[in-house]
């Protein structure tokens, strides 16, 4: 319930009702605090992340509670303005707990992009990109979706397995040289640096969307030192992000490289 000053379009008071868990109650309460004193237009730009941040964060399986709060606000404002509002938000079973990706989103992206492997699902949605314990569930989702399209899911992909899967590189194996794939000419130092820059530049928009960023500080042999900025800094998934970029560099360069935070540069010198 909103009490709006018709002159200034300002929200004077806000109240809520919920049939929901503790996080739903807390999210709704946070939202009513956030919107008081704001104009309707200002209130509409409050994101569910703002609500979660107000509460000092929410666990991934409870993030949808903050989404419900924001949707209730949108519906209330639409109602006040005499507009119609449609709930276009669909949620399925939570598949990836690290990035809070549910089955509805995975299905939508898989269908829209004709994805056939877990790796592709990870690249498109981030699901499964961190702890990897949901890969079995992602495979099950793919099996179901592909079956509905008359295709069969196999671990290597529904189509012919043309993609070579890069070996998983652990830090233990860090020092062992990775042979340059045959037929690939060795890059000059300049070409190599440009290539590295190219790969990192291609990734930046994705990080910026999540309010983060990355910059290359130095390249010493196999070690590439970078600064993570903005939301990436201190993010719990920093290691996963670095790992993902490292994997891309590895594929582009055809040699093993290590992506390290610039803070370790001192030690290297």
């Amino acid at each position: 319930m909103l009490k709006v000053d018709a002159e200034t379009d300002t929200i004077q008071d806000a109240r809520f009702q919920t049939f929901g868990c503790g996080s739903a109650i807390a999210s709704s309460s946070a939202l009513t605090e956030l919107v008081k004193g704001k104009t309707l237009d200002e209130a509409l730009v409050i994101s569910n992340q703002d609500i979660a941040a107000f509460l000092g964060g929410l666990p991934p399986e409870k993030m949808h509670c903050s989404v419900m709060g924001r949707e209730a606000l949108q519906a209330a404002i639409a109602n006040y303005r005499g507009e119609s509002w449609r709930d276009d938000h669909e949620e399925g079973e939570l598949i990836c707990k690290c990035y809070a990706i549910d089955s509805a989103l995975i299905e939508e992206v898989v269908r829209a992009n004709n994805l056939t492997t877990v790796e592709e699902v990870t690249n498109y949605t981030k699901a499964g990109g961190a702890c990897a314990s949901c890969h079995e569930k992602i495979e099950e989702e793919l099996t179901r979706i592909l079956a509905s399209q008359g295709k069969t899911f196999t671990a290597a992909g529904a189509s012919a397995p043309a993609v070579t899967v890069a070996p998983v590189v652990t830090s233990v194996a860090a020092e062992s040289p990775v042979p340059v794939p045959e037929g690939k000419p060795k890059l000059t130092n300049l070409q190599r640096m440009r290539k590295i820059e190219e790969v990192v530049e291609a990734i930046r928009p994705a990080l910026q969307r999540d309010h983060g960023d990355i910059e290359i500080v130095d390249i010493i042999g196999k070690n590439i030192y970078v600064n993570l900025k903005g939301a990436c800094m201190g993010c719990a998934l920093e290691a996963a992000t670095l790992g993902g970029i490292q994997q891309k560099l590895f594929e582009a360069l055809g040699e093993y490289v290590r992506l390290l935070p610039a803070s370790q540069l001192e030690m290297a010198r």
């Binding site: 049939f19 929901g20 739903a24 399986e61 949620e91 939570l94 099950e140």
Partner: protein, 402 residues
């Protein structure tokens, strides 16, 4: 104020006598029971005694029918997978819709691998249809796995009767008795139950220890392969401190089974009556006349369980809820859904599970604490008006089940 623990179906406090029995086996009695020297030999003797204590509690014919495992989940998985492996010509399983995930998730997996799983439904009181069960028994069924008592409502299933029917058709019968052991007197040697799962931490023993009872002569294939421990049926060096603790806990459980069915039942009934007398639009779920003596599951309509639990927790009271709102699907527990409890009530279902360590004073504290909490949460509920539920609530606000 001292906290009140009414969540004993989730886990129990380790009995001080159990801890005392275990302690020497962390320190001076550290030997490996398989060793020939005296370090190992004394541990072996103590494990033998524990095995006999559990044999006595279960009423098993032989002590070699007791296999120590890591807990209920391992015992359940071992039993079902063993039955399928040992009888490759049989590819069907009969279970129920209200089993613990340790059985249900495995059966769902097996179904994907091509096995046929029949899940018996329950009525609105959580009871099985025995005629339906009997009609499903055939020579393609490898195993029937039915819990002895339900963890959420305490409802007791007639497993001894069901085992007779299975046995007559040459079908193995397994029961997950994790909640029943120590509360229901057992005499397995007189039953046709082939396998039974037990978990230590539900009866005042430590976590990480359990038992699979395996009737002598039942076809069996181990889940793990390795050494000769547990006669090769569950290899791996014995968890001797936990085994000895479980033995002591079994002895205590046997001695206290009367208390569970008199004193604890009295407290449970007092609690349930006390709450229901004060809170309107609330009802107990499950088969009320045929349930565990320690369990009361009350559905509070028009409120959500987690809110109740958080407010109870602020008062130092621990219970649990049938609401698990972990995605946008708003799905209450599978047990509540199976009984057809409307979602406005299922989400507000709270399980109080007592133990012999609870007191009358604690029961009175909880009776006093619950009504104001429900009233407070109903004030913010879209289903609740000034003085009662709103009309046409379902039309006003109707989340969909996924």
């Amino acid at each position: 104020m001292k906290p009140v623990y009414f969540d004993n179906n989730a886990t129990t406090a380790c009995d001080p006598a159990v801890v005392e029995a275990m302690l020497p086996f962390f320190t001076e009695q550290f030997g490996n029971a398989s060793s020939i020297h005296s370090f190992g030999n004394q541990v072996g003797q103590a494990i033998k005694q524990a095995r006999e204590q559990i044999q006595a509690l279960l009423g098993a014919a032989q002590d070699s029918e007791i296999i120590f495992t890591s807990g209920g989940t391992e015992s359940d998985n071992t039993a079902i997978l063993s039955a399928l492996k040992a009888q490759p010509e049989r590819s069907q399983i009969i279970t129920t819709v209200v089993e613990h995930p340790a059985v249900l998730a495995l059966c769902d997996r097996l179904e994907k691998e091509g096995y046929v799983v029949h899940k018996l439904r329950v009525d609105k009181r959580g009871r099985l249809d025995i005629d339906e069960y009997r009609s499903l028994l055939n020579d393609r069924v490898a195993i029937v796995s039915v819990m002895w008592a339900n963890n959420e409502t305490g409802t007791i299933f007639p497993v001894e009767e069901m085992a007779e029917y299975a046995n007559a058709m040459g079908i193995q019968f397994h029961t997950d008795a994790v909640q029943a052991v120590g509360k229901i007197p057992l005499d397995l040697k007189r039953s046709k139950i082939d396998m039974l799962s037990l978990s230590g931490h539900k009866l005042h023993a430590p976590k990480g220890i359990g038992v699979l009872y395996l009737r002598r002569g039942t076809g069996f294939r181990p889940l793990l392969r390795g050494g000769q421990q547990e006669r090769g049926r569950r290899p791996g060096t014995e968890n001797s401190p936990a085994i000895i603790g479980l033995g002591r806990a079994a002895e205590l459980a046997m001695r206290n089974i009367g208390t569970e069915n008199s004193d604890v039942r009295f407290l449970r009934d007092k609690l349930e009556r006390g709450i229901l007398a004060q809170v309107q639009h609330a009802f107990p779920t499950g088969d009320l006349g045929n349930r565990l003596p320690n369990t009361s599951n009350i559905a509070f309509e028009y409120v959500e369980g987690e809110g109740i639990l958080l407010l109870l927790n602020k008062l130092g009271i621990a219970a649990s809820s049938g609401s698990a709102c972990t995605s946008g699907s708003l799905e209450p527990s599978h047990v509540m859904r199976a009984m057809g409890i409307p979602y406005t009530a299922a989400h507000g279902s709270i399980r109080f599970s007592l133990s012999r360590y609870n007191t009358q004073e604690e029961v009175e504290r909880v009776i006093a604490a619950v009504p104001p909490i429900i009233a407070q949460l109903r004030q913010i509920s879209p289903y609740w008006g000034e003085a009662g539920p709103v009309k046409d609530a379902a039309q006003m606000f109707a989340p969909v089940y996924a």
